[in-house]
């Protein structure tokens, strides 16, 4: 992934989840120096608007959300910037949903509930693609 000049070494992270607790937990837990949180959205529609405005490099994406669900949101974000790295963070534990998310353009899938270590490992794995 190409990182804009002046931002080398830092990637912008946007968090999408309808739970404030989960948004704050992801924000707290991610201790990877390369990530800077640039925004958090509580539904897919707000996420698309925020994505256009903040142009994040990395997104964590819930699936079950009001207004626009996560799968539809992944499609919209990929249509805007196909280089974005998306980690789906969802309670939907069936394989078919994970496969669908990956097919739509997500790069990884982390099942809720998760520990801080599982989250950091998933983000590290995602960033290895950057």
């Amino acid at each position: 992934m190409e990182i804009p000049d002046g931002r080398k070494g830092t990637l912008k992270l946007m968090i999408v989840d309808d739970s404030n607790i989960i948004r704050r937990r992801i924000e707290r837990s991610q201790q990877i120096a390369r990530l800077e949180v640039v925004g958090a959205a509580s539904n897919g529609r707000a996420a698309v608007e925020m994505f256009r405005r903040t142009q994040p490099d990395v997104v964590t994406m819930d699936l079950t959300m009001p207004e626009m669900d996560g799968i539809e949101c992944v499609e919209e974000l990929i249509a805007i910037n196909s280089n974005v790295l998306i980690l789906v963070v969802s309670a939907l534990a069936d394989k078919a949903t994970a496969v669908e998310a990956i097919e739509k353009g997500a790069n990884g899938f982390l099942c809720k509930p998760f520990t801080d270590r599982q989250l950091n490992d998933a983000l590290e794995e995602l960033l290895a693609e950057a």
Binding site: D18, N20, I21, I22, R25, T64, S90, A91, D94, P113
Partner: protein
């Protein structure tokens, strides 16, 4: 008709939630059947509507004390009413979503509906529900599964 054997999916989802999120195991009591349409509720309840291949609701209900400690175990310092409501919905959502591991993607879950401070408002669509009693630290809660 919801089969008694299927209750295992929700028992496992409940124990996994506490082990992973709170890093502290919960004890799950013997699930029991309620047939009078009144499985009961505590102060905070997160209700998930189920559609698709199965129809009904799943709800997680707990007292404020338990949810406050659970938030703190998750390193969350904001224990406001808003965050307590958020948490009870998230627990219900997570356990219901995890059930798709066994029930598949046609077990469609809604976003949570939260009922707080009025347990009388918590109702089930059918008279028959399974109740899973949950004990965690000194607190009691329950997961109620009411499916056709």
């Amino acid at each position: 008709m919801f089969k008694e054997a299927e209750i295992r999916t929700f028992v496992e989802g409940t124990t996994n939630y506490f082990e992973t999120s709170a890093q502290q195991s919960a004890t799950v009591g013997s699930p029991y059947l309620v047939t009078d349409g009144k499985p009961g509720a505590y102060e905070y309840t997160g209700v998930i509507g189920i559609t698709g291949a199965r129809k009904g609701i799943v709800y997680f209900t707990a007292p404020r004390g338990m949810l406050t400690v659970l938030l703190m175990r998750m390193q969350e310092t904001d224990t406001s009413d808003e965050n307590i409501k958020d948490l009870v919905g998230e627990v219900a959502n997570t356990i219901s979503g995890n059930a798709r591991r066994d029930f598949g993607k046609h077990f469609v879950i809604s976003v949570p509906v939260i009922i707080a401070h009025d347990s009388e408002k918590v109702t089930t669509p059918h008279s028959r529900s399974f109740v899973i009693p949950i004990n965690w630290r000194t607190h009691s809660a329950k997961l109620v599964v009411c499916l056709e």
